[in-house]
């Protein structure tokens, strides 16, 4: 009898373990403990046994019965906890809901990246007005009186303010450098600041030329500063922005407000300097002009050029952003076209 009970116990335990739903579990329960169930019919056979054995057998059957009841109830709880929140054929490959779409202009993003990099090196961020005078746009910067850039085909002069002395002529700033002089006039040296902002040129536009673009200027003015220290600065900044070591070279270049002037190139990150279509096969990409501020610029800022010197760079952010993402038309930046801008979230 004991063996028989043991066999039943094992058999029903297996069935309980195998049950996956409450319905299945219920049918196991009925088949074992129900009125027609196997244990119930065992109890019905009790009178056939010797009365002396009956109590022991009855107890044994009851024990198994209780044991199984507990197992079934435990299993029922387990099945309940495992019940699916959705039908089991739910498709997990459907896409998630997009978070709110909004973002900064890709040029602002680059600008903030640079701000962070420069600030970590102790630079202030300087901001200035978009309208300036010829005095600050050209005279202070050592542009000769007849420099072509002063003419209306290159600079946006304001009507009614387009003649007279340099302090009376007003224009949309053609570059940021004039504003740097304003900073120097109102602060005490040594200087270490960056100056981001829009500049405007009267140009015919195409995929590579724009009338409004974004420049980023950085200027250090100090005693005993060699131009090679400038190279260290550029290298640190570019490496931070691009997240890896960027080779930098400086070569001869000319700009009226620096002496000496440089064109600063960075190693092409697309081909690693081997030469590709992005860098026109030379392995280098021209990223910024730079140089030591011209003595006349320092004088305009009220400094003695024999005492002070420095280093200046002007980064064209449009170009850098175009490189970052492979944008092929500079005019898109001012298009306000969300189909374009939303790509940079």
């Amino acid at each position: 009898m004991d063996q028989k009970l043991q066999a039943i116990l094992q058999d029903v335990e297996k069935k309980i373990a195998a049950a996956k739903t409450e319905v299945e579990l219920q049918s196991v329960k009925v088949s074992a403990l129900g009125k027609q169930g196997i244990l119930t019919s065992l109890m019905k056979e009790l009178p056939k046994f010797d009365p002396a054995e009956r109590p022991a057998i009855g107890q044994a059957v009851n024990r198994v019965k209780n044991q199984l009841s507990e197992l079934i109830e435990n299993k029922r709880e387990e099945i309940k906890l495992q019940a699916a929140a959705v039908p089991t054929d739910f498709d997990c490959t459907v896409p998630g809901f997009a978070p709110r779409s909004g973002g900064l202009h890709p040029i602002t993003q680059m600008c903030y990246d640079l701000n962070d990099a420069f600030r970590s090196m102790g630079f202030e961020v300087f901001q200035e007005d978009d309208i300036t005078s010829e005095m600050y746009a050209f005279d202070n910067l050592n542009f000769p009186p007849n420099h072509p850039a002063r003419e209306s085909m290159d600079t946006y002069w304001l009507e009614g303010h387009d003649s007279g002395n340099a302090n009376e002529k007003l224009c949309l700033r053609p570059h940021l450098t004039g504003g740097s002089v304003r900073y120097m006039q109102t602060h005490k040296p040594p200087y270490r600041f960056v100056y981001p902002g829009h500049v405007y040129r009267n140009e015919t536009t195409d995929a590579r030329h724009e009338r409004a673009f974004y420049q980023y200027e950085a200027l250090i003015v100090d005693r005993d500063f060699t131009f090679t220290a400038g190279k260290v600065m550029i290298k640190s900044i570019l490496s931070k922005v691009f997240g890896r070591d960027v080779p930098v070279r400086m070569r001869a270049g000319f700009f009226p407000f620096v002496e000496p002037g440089f064109e600063i190139d960075m190693g092409c990150l697309v081909c690693g300097g081997k030469g590709c279509s992005v860098c026109k096969q030379v392995g280098w990409i021209e990223v910024m002009p730079g140089g030591t501020p011209h003595p006349n610029v320092l004088r305009a800022a009220g400094l003695d050029p024999d005492e002070y010197t420095g280093f200046y760079v002007n980064i064209g952010l449009d170009r850098l952003v175009m490189m970052r993402y492979g944008v092929d038309d500079v005019r898109l930046f001012h298009s306000a076209d969300l189909r374009f801008l939303q790509q940079f979230h």
């Binding site: 202009h105 102790g122 209306s152 946006y156 387009d162 090679t228």
Partner: protein, 813 residues
């Protein structure tokens, strides 16, 4: 500017096997940017000289011929449509693999073996235009084949070898040499290379006219605009083609050979950078006068342009009137004609600015004016004269110089500069010995002497027209000759005197990041000018707007005095693609008023202010919800961006705003902006059709950032609080602000009402006309115990009673 390596080699002995990659690199690093280096012969790959042996008719085509052509090792059949095919003629044969342009047009095509009307042709016999040689072998008419019979080349010779075109063309970025007029021309670059590589430069012998030659009459009326003028009168010349080598060189660097007389002047210009001009002497009456043009003086140029001159222009005149626009272009009267036999050669120096202005005024920039604009030094006239006279003598053995004059009223003074040696070393960050300095500088034509810690430098004439004027220029010369990349990088020292703290800069960034990342708005950039359509749609008037003298377009003259017109333009533009979006812009606005002198006391700058403006546009949301969406953006901005609070009032409706849905934004008592629904009328004018648009515009210069975070921690409630909603019927004239203030005003320090918030309001069928049902949520609790439900109810009913009394409201049940 294009340069021929072959030509440069005339003046400097570059090694035969020079590495062009290195040469381009060295020039780029030290002097000017080399944009491209190309081997001329590459374009003639698989093009050879062939000799036609027999010309036969084509069986299937009238216009085609079959040419049995000797191409060196063998004779091939080539089908050709040329009209001038003759046995014995030498021609250019494009063999399979060569690249040509059909009839000189379209994209380059690679030649193969092909059947032409049933006859197999081994490549093609080329017209000059098909292999890019139209300028050197001009075809008299269409379907004429280039005749190479004059060249001493056996059949099978590569075309580049036959025509001596194994040259390398160096292209230099013109922009990179704006300050180096001395580099224009092959001699200038040769001189730079001789300095870079320490190689000898071929000297140019000065031309000395024969004695007892008549003085050619020249008068200079304005010697500021014309510091030097050399005139040479010559006889025994004629119009004929120049030698092939000369033509070829002119062609290689991008100009077109014309005839020997014109070619000499161009050749000299390309060699030295000094423009020269040849007049037909028969058309010049009397001598030459260089003078300012008379007001409204007429001049018909060589290219047919009929000019009416101004007194600013400088002309070359004879006794009858202007014959040429000085430094820009000759006139048609004096030009070289087919029967020219006497010429006057002009080698002159003109002021760069005057030439530039004149060339621009008449939109007539030429090779000559482009060079004069860069400030050519007057000493270079000597070089050009020497080259020119040598070429005239070579090309015209019968030449006779009959008049000469060299007027040089304003001789150029070479710059002299003193350089403090200590200063130099400090700036270079490196010590160079006197010998090193002297060597580097003298290679470039400077002369250098030393005197106790001072270096005295005399600048050569060709660097004295503005390029080298101060000691910093000398430092640059030394540094670039030494090689910028050869200096040891020195680290930057930092001083540790305080962290950067720029609250105003940070605030703008916080606001932009808040708008973008918390409010889901997209930042845009627009131009600083406005289109008339949008300015007129949005602004009351544009009286105070500044204007551009030369606007990008006639309807874009106005400079923005508000960010809203461009913002609306952006909304209109994006309406095609999106039915709900929000955008913002941060930029300055400008007005022709409130001039200030923030820097130099003599400089007056107009009103400028940094604004932040945004648009929330939606075609599906109700206007009520759109309003609340936009208002929420402004309302939460101070808290999220850490600035002084802002309030809303209705004082002054913006002209573009809807009559009801508008607010002015205040910081304290200062109005800092507006927020409103764009009116139907303005929307229509902007071409916005379906979208409802909420706009806001804030003067960011008036926002006050907190110095640090100011909000204080509040203890979490120890005892539970309960949210209790109350709904009352109010007159529709009662606004939420009044209700809120009433409830808050009644709160005492120990009040159980912890806070009040708006849930919703309802107008419609369920409530009587002129009434609205408003639901507010009270948060009720005590600091020292858990309230009983009767206490909570009593507290809420107290508020209800207050509102009923104050606003004649009725509790809804």
């Amino acid at each position: 500017m294009k340069l021929s390596l072959d030509w440069i080699r005339d003046y400097v002995a570059l090694p035969k096997d020079i590495d062009m990659t290195k040469l381009a690199y060295d020039l780029t690093m030290s002097t000017v940017e080399v944009e491209d280096v190309t081997y001329l012969a590459e374009q003639f790959k698989n093009i050879i000289v062939g000799q036609i042996e027999e010309v036969l008719p084509h069986p299937n085509a009238q216009k085609l011929r079959i040419c049995r052509t000797n191409i060196g090792d063998e004779v091939k059949v080539i089908v050709c449509g040329g009209k001038n095919l003759e046995p014995g003629m030498k021609v250019a044969v494009a063999c399979p693999g060569a690249v040509v342009r059909w009839h000189g047009e379209g994209d380059p095509v690679e030649i193969g073996i092909a059947k032409l009307r049933g006859v197999e042709s081994y490549g093609m016999i080329c017209a000059s235009s098909e292999i890019g040689l139209a300028d050197l072998f001009p075809a008299a008419e269409e379907a004429m084949i280039a005749d190479l019979s004059a060249f001493d080349a056996v059949p099978g010779t590569n075309l580049a070898d036959a025509l001596d075109l194994n040259d390398c063309i160096i292209e230099i970025d013109n922009k990179s040499m704006t300050n180096r007029p001395d580099l224009w021309g092959h001699y200038g670059i040769a001189r730079e290379l001789s300095a870079l590589y320490d190689l000898p430069l071929k000297p140019i012998e000065k031309y000395v006219p024969q004695e007892n030659i008549d003085k050619f009459p020249v008068t200079i009326e304005d010697d500021e605009k014309c510091p030097r003028y050399i005139g040479v009168k010559m006889e025994g010349v004629s119009v004929k083609p120049s030698p092939f080598k000369m033509q070829s060189r002119i062609w290689r660097v991008g100009m077109r050979p014309i005839n020997a007389l014109v070619d000499i002047t161009n050749y000299v210009m390309l060699a030295t950078g000094q423009p020269t001009h040849a007049f037909d002497a028969d058309n010049i009456s009397g001598g030459i006068t260089v003078r300012p043009a008379k007001q409204d003086e007429k001049l018909l140029l060589l290219n047919g342009k009929d000019l009416t001159l101004k007194t600013d222009d400088l002309v070359i005149a004879d006794s009858e009137g202007a014959v040429a626009l000085a430094g820009v272009m000759g006139g048609s009267k004096d030009s070289i004609l087919p029967d020219t036999s006497k010429v006057i050669l002009e080698v002159a120096n003109f002021d760069s600015h005057s030439i530039r202005r004149t060339a621009l005024r008449y939109e007539n920039r030429t090779e000559a004016s482009a060079r004069y604009e860069k400030a050519v030094d007057p000493q270079r006239c000597d070089q050009a004269l020497s080259f020119a006279m040598q070429l005239f003598a070579e090309l015209y053995p019968e030449l006779k110089v009959t008049g000469f004059n060299d007027l040089y009223p304003r001789p150029l003074a070479c710059n002299e500069i003193d350089v403090d040696m200590q200063w130099l070393e400090k700036r270079l960050g490196q010590h160079l010995t006197n010998d090193e300095l002297k060597e580097k500088l003298e290679l470039m034509g400077f002369s250098v002497t030393f005197d106790s810690g001072n270096m005295h430098v005399v600048v050569p004439s060709w660097r004295s027209t503005g390029d080298i004027a101060i000691k910093d220029d000398i430092m640059e010369e030394v540094a670039r000759m030494y090689g910028y990349d050869n200096f040891e990088p020195t680290p930057i020292t930092t001083s540790f005197d305080g962290a950067i703290n720029q609250l105003d800069v940070d605030l703008v960034r916080h606001i932009k990041e808040y708008l973008a990342f918390r409010c889901g708005m997209q930042e845009i950039f627009t131009y600083p000018w406005m289109k008339d359509t949008f300015a007129n749609a949005i602004l009351e008037n544009t009286d105070e707007a500044l204007k551009l003298s030369t606007p990008p377009a006639p309807d874009e003259k106005l400079i923005r005095c508000s960010l809203l017109p461009n913002l609306c333009e952006a909304v209109a533009k994006n309406e095609r693609y999106f039915n709900n979006f929000s955008i913002f812009e941060e930029a300055q606005i400008f007005s022709d008023k409130d001039y200030t002198t923030p820097y130099d006391p003599s400089e007056k700058l107009p009103y400028m202010a940094k604004h932040i403006a945004g648009a929330v546009a939606d075609s599906t949301m109700t206007v009520e919800n759109l309003f609340r969406t936009a208002k929420g953006i402004i309302e939460y901005m101070p808290r999220m961006t850490h600035m002084e609070g802002i309030t809303f009032r209705k004082e002054d409706k913006p002209v573009w705003a809807d009559n009801t849905v508008w607010l002015n934004i205040f910081s304290g008592d200062t109005k800092i902006g507006d927020m409103a629904l764009l009116s139907k009328k303005a929307s229509l004018k902007c071409g916005i059709k379906k979208l409802s648009v909420m706009l806001f515009d804030i003067n960011a210069d008036l926002l006050v950032p907190f110095k640090s975070r100011t909000n204080k921690f509040e203890h979490l409630a120890t005892y539970p609080t309960v949210e209790f909603d109350i709904s009352l019927l109010f007159d529709t004239s009662v606004n939420w602000d009044a209700i809120l203030k009433t409830i808050e005003g009644s709160r005492k320090a120990d009040s159980f009402v912890k806070s009040v918030s708006f849930v919703d309001e309802y107008k419609g069928k369920q409530v009587p006309e002129g009434k609205k049902s408003l639901t507010a949520r009270l948060t009720i609790g005590a600091d020292d115990r858990t309230l009983k439900s009767e206490e909570i109810e009593a507290c809420a009913m107290k508020v209800v009673k207050l509102l009923e009394k104050k606003f004649d409201a009725k509790l809804r049940t």
